[in-house]
Symmetry: C2
Subunit: 267 residues, 2 copies
């Protein structure tokens, strides 16, 4: 078994002529609270468990710990539901305070049916409950909101780790979203820093030298899904290191993943 250290680009290396990516869960993050320095906590946890962050790694962080560090957790007893929230909650069997939190995070309600509220967040993401979520919080009477500026949060964590360790990396912040037509949630990127969210193949050729047609891959979402294989919901592993994916350093952001409303056939 060769050492899984090189980038995918080194597939031209005759000693290692195939691409290989390694996804490692960082299990030992202590309980995160408001004001905590995630760059410090993640760097230290990775070092302590014997898998320190290295140049070229993509550090993938679950939204929940970012929101906790940024104080984006609200106690439901502090939320006064509007008459609309009370009415919606009654129709759908929900907590009116939770519904109120969802409405406050939304800039548009896309669908409301089958007990599900699909909303567009102020960042432009379309997801259930505008990303407001009650799981993995110490207090059951609280809910967690998405970071205010997840791309900015990703940049802050990236710069913090880079300053601390002196290596260039990328950071992706993830959340689990549902989607039309297909069952099951998948992990997607809500914040990106240090690489492009989209990998654009237009103008390149396929393996036969023909021009590729359809060809913008959502690489940040695919990295988010890869991280999900080690960051499962029940394990308390909120961070993963994705190593060996040969990306180009770039100023991408998760907002690039939001389709222009005028080009979207399904709004």
């Amino acid at each position: 078994m060769p050492p899984p250290k090189k980038r995918a680009e080194t597939s031209s290396n005759p000693n290692h002529p195939y691409p290989e990516v390694q996804v490692t869960g960082i299990a030992v993050i202590p309980e995160v609270g408001k004001g905590d320095d995630l760059a410090l906590l993640i760097s230290e946890a990775a070092r302590r468990q014997g898998t320190p962050i290295k140049k070229g790694d993509v550090v993938v962080v679950t939204q929940k710990v970012v929101s906790k560090a940024e104080g984006r957790v609200i106690l439901l007893k502090r939320v006064k539901p509007s008459p609309l929230a009370v009415s919606i909650a009654r129709q759908h069997g929900k907590d009116p305070r939770h519904v109120e939190a969802v409405l406050r995070e939304s800039r548009r309600i896309v669908r409301m049916d089958h007990g599900v509220i699909i909303a567009e967040t102020r960042h432009g993401f379309i997801c259930a409950n505008a990303g407001v979520d009650a799981s993995n919080l110490p207090d059951e009477e609280s809910v967690c909101l998405l970071p205010k500026d997840p791309d900015g949060s990703a940049r802050g964590i990236r710069e913090g780790i880079e300053r601390r360790l002196g290596v260039e990396i990328a950071v992706i912040i993830t959340d689990t979203f549902g989607r039309p037509w297909r069952e099951g949630f998948t992990n997607v990127a809500v914040g990106v820093s240090g690489l492009d969210a989209l990998l654009d193949y237009r103008g390149t050729s396929d393996a036969y030298g023909h021009p590729l047609k359809v060809t913008v891959m959502a690489q940040a979402d695919e990295i988010a899904s890869a991280a999900s294989l080690v960051c499962q919901k029940t394990t308390g592993v909120p961070v993963a290191i994705v190593r060996g994916f040969g990306y180009k350093r770039a100023r991408g952001k998760a907002r690039d993943l939001v389709r222009e409303p005028s080009l979207d056939l399904f709004r």
Copy 2:
């Protein structure tokens, strides 16, 4: 660096207390043609490059090579477009023979706009051009269709590899699909054998012991996306081995990923 061999479940092992998944591209598949034995080709290619398939691996195979092996490539000169196909092609600047192939693979047209045909395939998948694709084919005057029964194709490859190597594995067949609301394509599962497509957390607890609410993860799609990190479109790496993902052996299928029309808010 510890040997990346164990399953994610062994995170209770004090010598290796974190989950780790390895994704390895299998680069050396020779040109696949109709009637080829993919189980043989994949097993041999993995062995030759020094990364043989092992018990518990998920072998992820790009749809294109499966379709080629199954003879699901058609020459456009053999396709006689219907008047509807000619009319659609004219409106959208497409090849009428390609449109005809798309219509034959569709059981419903979901949207037709912005030069894109979103169709429901006879398997129930909703995707651009009903999965009919012209890239990565030796002859530019041909198109590739999805396998007739991709879950059956996955089962055939799984059983072939298991018989040959005497180890239990799982197989996922992938394609790249677009999605509403978010830019970029992601790799998803169109065929599954040997594990569940959906990972159902309902009835389990989060890291704080609270019951999880939203909680069916599309694990087959997340594995497909992880494989995409090494199977990029331009590299000619049509197969990946995902190792270390602790799944339960089960009789899942990709059709489980298709949402019941009556529960879908976006058809």
